[in-house]
Every structure is written in structure tokens, then in C-alpha cells.
Symmetry: C2
Subunit: 459 residues, 2 copies
Amino acid sequence: MSVDAALAWVDDRHDQLLARFSELLRIPSVSTDPAFAADVQRCADWLVGDLQRIGFANCQAIATAGHPVVYGEWLKAGPNAPTILVYAHYDVQPVEPLELWETPPFEPRLHEGRLYARGSIDDKCGAFANLIAFEALLETSGTLPVNIKVVFEGEEETGSPAMEPFVRKHKDLLAADLMLICDGGSEPDQPLMFYTARGIIGAEVKVTGPSHDLHSGLVGGAVQNPIHVVSTIIAALHDQTGRIQIPGFYADVQTPSATEQGLMAAQEQEFFEMLKSQTGRDTFWANELGSLVARTTALPTCDVNGVWGGYQGAGTKTIIPAEAGFKVTMRLVADQDPHAILEAFSQFAQSFASETAEVIVTKGPASYPVNLLYDGPVIEALQAAFEATWGKPATLYRQGGSVPIMGMFQRELGMNLATLGFGTGENGHAPNEYLLVDEFFRGVATAIHFYTNMGQQAA
Amino acid sequence: MSVDAALAWVDDRHDQLLARFSELLRIPSVSTDPAFAADVQRCADWLVGDLQRIGFANCQAIATAGHPVVYGEWLKAGPNAPTILVYAHYDVQPVEPLELWETPPFEPRLHEGRLYARGSIDDKCGAFANLIAFEALLETSGTLPVNIKVVFEGEEETGSPAMEPFVRKHKDLLAADLMLICDGGSEPDQPLMFYTARGIIGAEVKVTGPSHDLHSGLVGGAVQNPIHVVSTIIAALHDQTGRIQIPGFYADVQTPSATEQGLMAAQEQEFFEMLKSQTGRDTFWANELGSLVARTTALPTCDVNGVWGGYQGAGTKTIIPAEAGFKVTMRLVADQDPHAILEAFSQFAQSFASETAEVIVTKGPASYPVNLLYDGPVIEALQAAFEATWGKPATLYRQGGSVPIMGMFQRELGMNLATLGFGTGENGHAPNEYLLVDEFFRGVATAIHFYTNMGQQAA
């Protein structure tokens, strides 16, 4: 069987593969600091070279307005086999504070089953695990079970400013049946697969009143207080149940499917425990709107993240301030359009303006929610792969946070998405980042199974 | 006529009187700085000595928990004549920043009709003008037309912490028919007399939510946001017309008399112009509640002076903060009880507490509103005095700000109050404080007329 041969090929070469992985980890591809631009390019070139070495075609580091995107393809599985677009990113976070690293971040160190290095879990593992899987399959059976296109990003840690124009320009090149996002990880004894993330929009609101701070004893009662206006806007955002009051806010919110409801119910108790430990409380807010999981992942939210105005020092200062303001972010779910909601919020806030107080809204970033696959053949192929390697399926979970780039991929490329993460370990974005090596190779085996399962579905 | 003789006595001695006033101004009686405590005592002793010199009895610097109170009395006008308790304060503000003074603050300098010195308008003039008036009347007619008690405070600039216990302890000593507050001034060509001041209460409110700041993307929708609670409390303080919504808030608010209404109407246009220049706007707030003068002087107000919570820096930080808060002050009018209103506010704010958010109210200072005389014999005697010296009556005005000590005097001593200010000039509490010398002597003449008028009313 081709899977067994490929798995054995990997098993026979752990040390060599880790040595080659270490080559990749030694390149300080810090995308956020322009001083490392040449290293980012060198990292892209290394990956292009490795794709060529294992037999991929059309390998190139495609220039963008930012850092290069690594592309390569292997399309000889035939027209009946699906084409999978495999995403990972090869850039890494800065290493500061350097003094907290026990060994240098770009000198990989293997210790007690952990591979310490910057980028080991976030996310060079995502690129390299796939390279191993592809090479193992090609070396042992001369072919891949599916068509593969890889796209390895070089600026994920900077917020991916160049990726949207890149994707728009290269839609034909990136066309595929499925996009597999390989960024993230699992718990050591439990594989995880997230299948939804919320969009996010942000705005800053400033309310201006008198031309300068005034004595509240002398003019209070005649001069509208910007703090009161700010508070009135914020208070009007929710009703008493916690439901958001911006007109049209919920119009495009999709109700989770029965399958999703089941997945959500299975997460509820764990989520309650998590919230309890995070908040120091065992009662929560807005209970009428839905379960904890629903409220934090399947429903949109609106939170003021900061408010200010007037005097904040010790004691009393009897002023009516000239202005006050707040920052707000909202998490959106499919099919809410972030630009439309941002505009609706802006109009809502501005409806509180008057002859005595201006309301100025500065719109911030707007990113789309994303719904990935949670059932169907692709998920079956993934779960079978997890069963074969972990002895159990991955827990499908929803996340309340946002992964802006996935929403962009989904919207621009119009294809299904699924996730497969290889970065099980600790300290991503922190000193002493490390990868659990056994889990990593278990992930490689999962990938080999998954691609094989996908090929068999097509056969 | 005794008035003419007294006025002539003063006119003949301008230079000598200013020289003696300069002795008083040279004493750096800065009450806020303990380093000047001996100077404050020396200033009190100087006043006691001067009261004795001009023929007052029972002169003493009475020790208090703070700085001494200067007392003296002249009670030989007979039982039919009224007794007037004359208040001024002899302590002064600090002089910093010293480098902005053109000449040293405690070296009085006469220049172009201005007497420059710290304390020249606030409020050594109030004490010394009365001393001149008393001396002139005593020297020219051997008597005063009314009985006089003087009480010169030594800690007004520190908020008068020791005065309430002092007054409570010395009620018999201070008993009188009228208290004349000699602290303040006029415009150069228009005498002013304020007849009401609002009380003030303050509080700080803190709302606590989760035990620490949380990621709003991960827990938003389940964790109540303290900023939202703070905003809901603030927004609930007023209805859309600007009327305050704290239960019972207006229960004890007195409607101004017809006379007051007339006085207020006369102030309205001037007040509009003042507000226009202060705010940079020509439209105002809460117009339905009353005139501008009514809203800022005859009605209570509630202003949040500061609000804070969460992230206030640049860009976005997606948190639900552990807490948020605000500072509020309210201006009260007769007969609102500051302690009762503060308690009503506290209960109102706490009614927004829930299982997911505590509301903690810290009560601040509470002072009573004060209503002084605005008509009747005393005001007639004052206005006749102004007519005789300025050629026109004083403008009776209401002030929106607070003079906590007056409310205390009124409440503790249970007597009528009126104001007569001598401090016409500029830069009280600021560098280069100066008194307009001609206006000061016009005030001395007004006092001579007033005391004489009061004596004639009794005769």
C-alpha cells in the first residue's frame, strides 16, 4: 500500500528530515522588520529549491508589493483527481526579547522531544510537513494521489497587506477544488480542526462639544457634555438582553445548521469551564441570546474596547470636556458584510449628533467572517486520516476570533476551505517557541493519509 | 453728616491707608503650604492688632484645627441697631510660578492705579476695606451706626476644613442679624452682587467585570463589558430633554420667586453672549428645561467630568476590560440636601449592578446650595450705597458655581447673608494679581454708606 510505504519512508528518515527542517528554521525570515528582507527572500528561495528537488513544477518565488509568495505545483494526478491548494506561511515573528531565549532562536535545538526555534510551530512546520508528505509519496509511489498547488506566504505576521492584490492577480494560477490551510496546531493528545472564524470590523468615534474644556459649574445645564453623548451611543448599541441595536445588523446572520448545532453543543461544557477560569465568574451575560458557544462564535458581537473623556486623574475636576471618544470592534459571522455593517454602525453613531455635538466616525479595518468545511467528503477524508494516526477524530471547533486572510481567500477564490495544522507545541510569538517532534511526525502521517484518502474518493 | 465726614477722612488719607494695607500685603499668608504657617499666624496677629488699634473689643486670633480665625467686635450701637457679622479671609493662594511675576508678590507695587500683590484682590482687600470703613466712622463720629462682629478666616484657599467645627463651637460668639460676605469683586464700571450659589456633590463610580482584561474576540458575547455598563449608567442620568432621571432628584427644588425671575431675565442676553464666546457655539442644550440663566443657576445639573476604561492608545486592542469608571459632579439648588442626593445617586448607579458586573460608588464632597438676600431692607441699604458711590445699583446675579462655606454658614448660623466685594482687579489665583485702587476706595465708600444706611433703617 502506498500509504504504508510513504509512512515507512518517513519513519526511516526522521533525523535527516529534522536536519533539513533545521536548515529552513535557521533562516531568520522575520517579515515585520525590513532589516530581514533579504532573509525572507532567501527563505522563499530555499522553499522553491526544495519544491523543485522533490519534483514540483513551475516553482517560483513570485514577487508582490510585500514579501514573495512561494508557488509550486504537481498536477499529474489526472483530471479526475481533485486539486488541493495548500497554504502555509514561511515568515516568522520577531524574536525580541532575545534575552529570554534559552538558546538562539535561529539555531534549532532538539531537547526532550521538543524542537526549539523561532518558526518551529508558526508556521514553517506547515510548509515543511507538506514537503515531507509530498516527497514521501513521490519517492515511494512515483506519484501523488491528488493534484497539488502550494502557496507559501511570506508576510502573514505583518497582516498580509500584499496578499489580496496577489490573489486577485493570480486567480487562475491558484484555482483549485479545495484550499487546505496549514497554519495552527492541536493539543498533544487531541487533534483539533477549526471550521469557522468571525470577521472583524473596527471604528473610532469622537464626539466634539465646546471648543475647549469648560467649567461645569458655570455652564453645566446649557452645554451638552460629550461624555454623555458618547455614553448614550454606547448604551444604545445593545438592548438589555445583549442584542445589538444597529439597524439591519442581524439581517444576514445565518443560522447554524443542525450539524453545527450538534458540534456546538458538544463544546458547551468545555467552553463554560474555559470562561469560568478566564473571568473568575460562573455567571455570564446575554444568556437569552443563545448558548455560550453560539454567543461567542455563531453570533456577532460588539464591544467597546476603550472609552475616554475629561479628567481621569485623582480627585475632582469640574469640567465639561471639549471632546470624548471610544474605540469599538465587532465580530461578524456569515453572511454579514463587514463594509456594510461598518457603514451601518457609522450611520447609527452619527444619528446621535446634534447642533451641540458632532459625532465623527473613523472607520478601521474590515474583514470577512469565514466558514470552512465541517462535514462532507473532505472532512471525512481528514477525520479518517486522524483516526489512522491519533486513533480518534479531530474535534471540530468554532473560533470567536478572526483570521482575516481566510475570509479573503474564500471570497476571492470562491472555493471550500479546510484546516490541517502541524504546529503542536508552545510559545508561538514568544521566546523559546518549540515544536513537539512526535506530534509533528504524526501530522505528517495525517497529511499522507489525507491526500491518499482524497485520491481514493476520486478513484 | 457723619457719612460725609467719614468719606472725607478716607479721602485725606489715601496714601497712608495704602501704606498700611501694604503692611498687610507683605505678610505671605499662604495657607496651603505648611511652610508659611508662622506667616499666617503673623497675619492674623496683625489684624487683631489693627482691630484693637481702631477700638474693637474682644479681639483675638482664635485657634482652630487649621489656621486661626480673627475675631473682633464693636457692639456699642445699642440693642435696636442690627448686628452684622462681616466675613473676609486673610489667607492667600500660593504664588507659583514665581518667574511669571513682574515684581515680587509680597512686595506691593503701585503702578498706573493698580496695586500689585498676592492677596490684593483675594481677599485681604475684603478685610482691610472694612477696617478703613470702621476706623473712618469711629474717628469722625466716635461710634459705628451698627453693631459689628468681624470674622476673618485664615484657610479659605485650602477649602476651609476647620471652619465648620469652628462655627459650631462658636455659635453664640458669631450670632448676628446678617452675615456680610466680603470676598469677590465687581467689574470696574459696574458693581455686582451675587445672591445665589449652587451646592456641589461629587462621586466616583467604578464598574468591575472579569478578573482581568480579556480577548473580546474569544469571549465577547458572553462576558459583560464594564464600559457598556458605565455608559448605560451615564446615559440613564438624563432623558432626551436633559432632565435628570435620578429618582426624587427634583423633589426639593424651589421655584425662583417672581423677583428672581425678573433678575434672571435681565441676565439672559448677557449670559447668551458669554456662553457663545466660551463655547464657540450659538446653540445650546436642554432648552426645554428653562432659560440659559435658569439652567445654569436655578436648576440642578449633573455632569460626568471624566470617563475611562479599556484601551486608549493608538490603533486597536481587542479587549473587554476588567473595569471602567467615571467621575461625576452635580450642582444643587435650594432646598436640595447634598447628602440625600448623593445617596440617591449612589443607589441609582448601583441599580445597574448585576451578577456579571459590580458597581462601586465612592462618595466625594457634598456641599449645600446657598440663597442670599436679593430684596428687602438689607438689599435696599446696599443698593442705596452703590447708587451713592457708583451712581447706579449693583447688578444682582446668580452664580452657577459653588461657594461651599456660605452654605455652611447659612445652615449652621441660620442667618441671612448678603455679599459686598472689594476685590475689583485681575489675576486672583494667578501671577501679577492686582487691585484697582480707585475701585477699592469706591468700595470703602460703599461700605461706609451701607453701614450708615443700616443704622438709619433701625433708627
